[in-house]
């Protein structure tokens, strides 16, 4: 079986500053992997490189066996590499339902229909209803996103990503900004993601990481420090040194 996402020797310099160096990792179908690391470890840069927001200085990225290193962000999205944003990035005046309609229509490339009625596009209403239901958003389907609770906006971010039928889903701090007591709902939603999906989560909250991830990748100073199962990572003295040690004291 080929890996769904395969990153090899990925590097990025901004001038003389090396923010990512020689990172390699792979994700298979069904993987639940967390990417952790202290502030400034290069997690966001890594996500931007993989999703095509910025071009890498060296290295290759393969999606489902296909080299996508030179493709644009939108092209990678069309091939099934989807991300959610750290800060919910939504269309404030659109309703929850309209967001999902737009995502599904865009995925099926039906957005250049100038004279079709959105309400009458075949199969759209059913699919959107299913997505709303899967994230518990049905009661707020007709609410403009601007007046939605933040936790629900995060859920919509995930629903939006799912609407695009991803193969690989990158969740950038899906519970950021959501009170700790409410992050359980986000985690429940993530638990219900399709089983064959490869999910990579970037997260600071170690409780969330240990509940979600079966494997963990640790970045430090732009390098891959180590990777392994949650147990191995906790036991690794290097990780304790750069990350967990200081965090554990802070708790």
């Amino acid at each position: 079986m080929t890996a769904l996402l395969e990153v090899e020797g990925l590097s990025k310099n901004f001038g003389g500053l090396q923010v990512s160096s020689d990172i390699s990792m792979m994700l298979n179908a069904g993987d639940r992997c967390a990417l952790i690391g202290p502030n400034g470890a290069g997690k966001t840069t890594f996500v931007n490189l993989v999703t095509g927001v910025i071009p890498p200085s060296a290295g290759t990225i393969r999606l489902d066996g296909r080299d996508v290193t030179t493709l644009s962000a939108a092209e990678r999205v069309r091939l099934g590499l989807i991300r959610s944003f750290q800060v919910a990035r939504l269309f404030k005046s659109m309703t929850v339902r309209e967001h999902l309609e737009l995502a599904v229509l865009q995925r099926d490339r039906r957005t250049f229909r100038l004279f079709a009625n959105v309400a009458k596009v075949a199969g759209l209403a059913d699919e959107v209803a299913g997505l709303l239901d899967s994230m518990g958003l049905t009661p707020v389907a007709h609410t403009a996103v601007g007046s939605l609770a933040y936790g629900q906006q995060r859920l919509l971010e995930i629903a939006l990503a799912l609407a695009m039928k991803p193969k690989v889903l990158i969740l950038d701090e899906p519970a950021a900004g959501v009170p700790h007591s409410e992050s359980q709902r986000i985690l429940d939603a993530i638990d219900r993601l399709p089983k064959d999906l490869a999910v990579l989560m970037i997260e600071h909250d170690m409780d969330l990481v240990f509940r979600f991830a079966r494997t963990i990748v640790v970045l430090a100073q732009g390098r891959l420090l180590c990777s392994g199962t949650a147990k191995e990572i906790v036991a690794d003295p290097r990780v304790r040194e750069v990350y967990l040690g200081s965090r554990a004291d802070a708790h």
Binding site: A73, A74, V77, R78, R83, F85, R89, L90, F91, K92, S93, M94, T95, R97, E98, E101, L102, A103, L105, Q106, R107, R110, T111, F112, R113, L114, F115, A116, N117, V118, A119, V121, G136, P139, V140, A141, H142, T143, A144, G146, S147, L148, A149, G151, Q152, L160, M164, S181, E182, Q184, R185
Partner: protein, 349 residues
């Protein structure tokens, strides 16, 4: 979390059931009443103001032009001061076709729409990578170029003398353009209403939804796999067809096309009318045009030297007290009459 969700859920579920549609969509175009209302008021004006048909005809044709601007600005977020480039191109195309080849009013409209759409597509593809002020400057530049080309091509356009001698054939071979302007007005009103219907169709289409997304956050559109620029170029082209038809409609009903039809002041005036009426609503374009040109007509007769000052005061008042334009005031009034549940997600501005 659950308590929040339940509270939100209950409130909005109720609103949804009561209206049977999304509050946002209802707010955007007054549901189904907006366009029939325009037709009804337009016809009523035909009987009530038989001496002002020339003005009413200008209002109808201009409203179609402002409607094209609403598509671009209200639904695509494209800041433009060059929409008259498409209007003028359409007007000249219709006039040239009428003078040289065929004076059927529908052929003239088609020629105007085609020319306006083509010029919008080509210039749009060249300038729509820019945003904000840069784009504003580029749209002004396109308008100036079109005007200058029309000025230099004297043989075709009549240059600064204008293109005259446009004498459209009877509509459908039956209704002559009479000297009282009855046919002109009814023709213009009919074209405006059809334009509104088509525009509403486009706004509610998957394409319209995507354009609203682009206007709010183009990068988010890329992140779901779309190309913001291609939406904007197609939208600009579609609006160009509307603007070109509005120009052609003016050529049909007035029989003359001048250089000012592609000029900067006409673009700016259209923007004022749209802001006055309310952007992103379609019928706001009609209200704004009627209000602006109506007030202009009344004031210019009673105080020809200071009418612009009054328009300015009126505009300041609207921007201060009704930021969403006259249409938002109408909607707020309607919301109050129908009950508080209608006021969800107000004030998009």
């Amino acid at each position: 979390m659950t308590s929040v969700a339940e509270r939100d859920g209950k409130g909005d579920g109720k609103a949804g059931r009561m209206t049977g549609r999304t509050p946002l969509a209802a707010r955007r175009d007054l549901g189904w009443i907006g366009i029939p209302l325009v037709a009804a008021v337009g016809l009523a004006a035909f009987w009530l103001l038989p001496d002002d048909l020339a003005l009413l005809t200008r209002i109808a044709a201009s409203a179609l032009f402002v409607l094209s601007l609403d598509l671009v600005l209200g639904y695509g977020g494209i800041a433009t001061l060059g929409q008259a480039a498409m209007f003028g191109t359409g007007a000249y195309a219709a006039g040239i076709v009428a003078v040289n080849w065929n004076n059927d009013p529908f052929i003239m409209l088609a020629a105007g729409g085609l020319a306006g759409g083509l010029i919008a597509l080509t210039t749009g593809a060249l300038i729509l990578h820019a945003r904000g002020l840069t784009l504003l400057m580029l749209t002004i530049a396109v308008g100036q170029i079109v005007q200058e080309v029309a000025n230099k091509a004297r043989d075709w356009t009549g240059g600064s003398d204008g293109l005259s001698g446009i004498d459209p054939a009877p509509v459908l071979g039956m209704f002559r353009f009479d000297m009282y302007g009855r046919t002109s007005y009814l023709f213009a009103l009919a074209v405006l209403v059809v334009g509104l219907l088509v525009a509403r169709r486009i706004v509610r289409s998957p394409f319209g939804l995507a354009c609203r997304g682009v206007s709010e956050d183009p990068l988010r559109i890329s992140a779901i796999g779309g190309s913001p620029k291609s939406y904007l170029v197609v939208l600009y082209g579609v609006a160009g067809v509307f603007a070109g038809m509005a120009g052609a409609l003016t050529a049909v009903t007035s029989g003359i096309v001048g250089l000012d039809s592609a000029g900067f002041p006409w673009s700016a005036e259209a923007l004022v009318m749209l802001v006055l009426g309310g952007t992103g609503r379609l019928y706001g374009a009609v209200i704004g045009t009627a209000a602006f040109m109506g007030i202009h007509h009344i004031l210019a007769a009673s105080d020809p030297f200071h009418w612009m000052g009054f328009i300015g005061l009126f505009l300041i008042g609207i921007v201060l007290f009704l930021p969403g334009g006259i249409a938002s005031g109408v909607e707020r009034l309607g919301g109050l009459l129908r009950g508080p549940s209608q006021n969800n997600g107000e004030d998009r501005a």
